[in-house]
Amino acid sequence: MTATAETHTMRSPLVRTLRDIGVITKRNVLRNVRLPQLLLFATIQPVMFLLLFNYVFGGSIGQSPQLAQFGGYINWLIPGIIMQSAVFGSSQTAIGLTEDLQAGVIDRFRSLPMARSAVLAGRTISDLLRNAFVSGLMLTVGALIGFRYQTSFAQLVLGFLLAMGFGFSFSWVMASVGLAVKDTETAQVAGFIPLFPLVFASSVFVSVESLPSWLRVFADHQPITVLANAIRGLFLGEAALPAGTTVSGTVLAALGWTLGILLVFFPLSVRLYRRAAG
């Protein structure tokens, strides 16, 4: 009965934690890969947004001299749309967690001698991987319909990583939402609804100068605008940023938001996880 000592491997806690995170990440990735509709819907929606915005709105909003000067609306749109898909994609974290809670999977995990952080980290990391796939696809589709970056390849990569980093950080917000509401239907609404004003009242699709002044105050200072601007600056250069701001300054502010959100919501969701069923 007590073969425990020999059969359980002796490893340092850090190695065990990483191993547990790896096991959970693999589980979630398998689900994404094997449930085709999951990946299909995850990619169709943002590609649809990209095409609709470019061909439907691009004709009118894209004609404003401020947006057109970067070689067409598509160049303005791509940095924003990558940001949008990273943020929308992170709402999957809430849905995935509530599904596991309701299926009793979290109970099973919590009864195992595994790292306490692995379930959440495995979830947010697998969502990050899916986000990277979807955003990579957006860049590819964007390139096919005319997107060209105006800076260097290194800056393109940096901008992409910045979007992924924020998506990851935002996944922890969504993890907290999922663990707080606990059921999938509520998580779907609670996770998604607040994203709309954040994404649309921002510089993702349009220049904030076109917004009414009261809305502009909000738009100028909320993280999605800061991130969209930072990515846009990296892809298109300083000319694409509001007057008086620099690429490096905006990137730093974007990093600040990313880290700040992570610092608040990582511990919060770990605490909610401990309590989730306890």
Binding site: T2, A3, T4, T9, R27, L30
Partner: protein, 326 residues
């Protein structure tokens, strides 16, 4: 320290106003199946969750394998396996992947997890289906796979929460024999059930729980004695009732109990002889009953005799706060 593998002492657990566990104590020795019997909402699942370190007791203490569940939950987790009420297996992984994953999370090496997975898959007879995704499995197969996952880490104590609720009779028997094999191999099992026959079949000792309190404890036989064992039950046409009541009285030497709306009458039956005696008397009196038979005591009878209310009556089953647990 005690030699009790599970030791629960006066555990209270409240959810807001609801006292899901209201001072439960129980303990038993290793190597047996302990059956926790009670209706929905009695507190069975809550007690399992406390023992499996998912829930902290509001007050009182509990230990598994001599380890306190509150002060050292991590050590408890290496010794236990849990199969909850819902098969917590992944539909989009294969059976083998599911079990292997849990093995890895039990901190088994990759090779050991693989070896153990083959062992348990063989034991639950799922080797042939092991490489199919679980979404193609039947409910009974999922239940067995879930059990396999809970066994992969060689737990000393296995907690099974209603292992046969909602599955077909054939799978039920499969799971019963699996549970029996496990105990023969040295595992201790605490299972919950709503079915007296299940507890009777499997458990060496049974605790009856209702409204968060243990209301009776003992072997299946002791519980049945408490209820009064089997009964002979019969229904006759209205005009014959008085005659038949006299006749039953002469057999049992006591007043027969009569169920009011249906007119169904019953007397205690020590053996099948009681049934034969009643049948003979009916024949002599030329009365043909609408229905006659022996009935073994059910959970309802246990409840009725101990608590005075039926197991499934409305007031006895406050909606379990379980799914919204916090």
């Amino acid at each position: 320290m005690t030699d009790k593998i599970v030791d629960v002492d006066n555990v209270v657990r409240t959810f807001g106003e609801v006292r899901a566990l209201d001072g439960v104590s129980l303990s038993f020795e290793p190597g047996i199946i302990y059956g926790l019997l009670g209706p929905n909402g009695a507190g069975k699942t809550t007690l399992i969750r406390v023992l499996a370190t998912l829930l902290k007791p509001t007050s009182g203490s509990a230990s598994v394998a001599g380890i306190d569940v509150v002060s050292d939950p991590d050590a408890v987790r290496t010794r236990i396996g849990l199969a909850g009420q819902f098969a917590a297996v992944d539909a989009y992984q294969t059976g083998r992947e599911n079990v292997e994953m849990v093995g890895r999370l039990y901190n088994l090496s990759k090779a050991e997890a693989k070896r153990r997975t083959e062992e348990v898959l063989e034991r639950i007879d799922l080797v042939d289906a092991a490489d199919r995704q679980v979404k193609t499995y039947s409910g009974g197969m999922r239940r067995r796979l879930d059990l396999a996952a809970s066994m992969v880490g060689r737990p000393e104590v296995l907690f099974l929460d209603e292992p046969t609720t909602g599955i077909d009779p054939r799978s039920r028997l499969d799971i019963w024999s699996l549970i029996e094999e496990l105990v023969e191999a040295g595992t201790t099992i605490l299972l919950t059930t709503q079915y007296l026959d299940e507890a009777d079949q499997l458990a060496a000792r049974i605790g009856v729980i209702d409204r968060g309190q243990m209301i009776a404890e003992g072997t299946a036989d002791e519980l049945k004695d408490m209820v009064g064992g089997s009964v002979v039950q019969l229904t006759v046409q209205e005009p014959d009732r008085a005659t038949v009541a006299d006749l039953l009285r002469s057999v049992s030497g006591d007043e027969p109990s009569i169920d009011q709306p249906t007119g169904r009458m019953s007397i205690p039956a020590s053996s099948a002889d009681t049934l034969l005696a009643v049948a003979r008397k009916l024949e002599e009196a030329s009365i043909t009953p609408d229905d006659i038979g022996m009935r073994k005591p059910t959970l309802d009878d246990v409840f009725l005799s101990i608590t005075g209310h039926a197991a499934e009556s409305e007031e006895a089953t406050p909606k379990r706060p379980a799914r919204s647990r916090r």
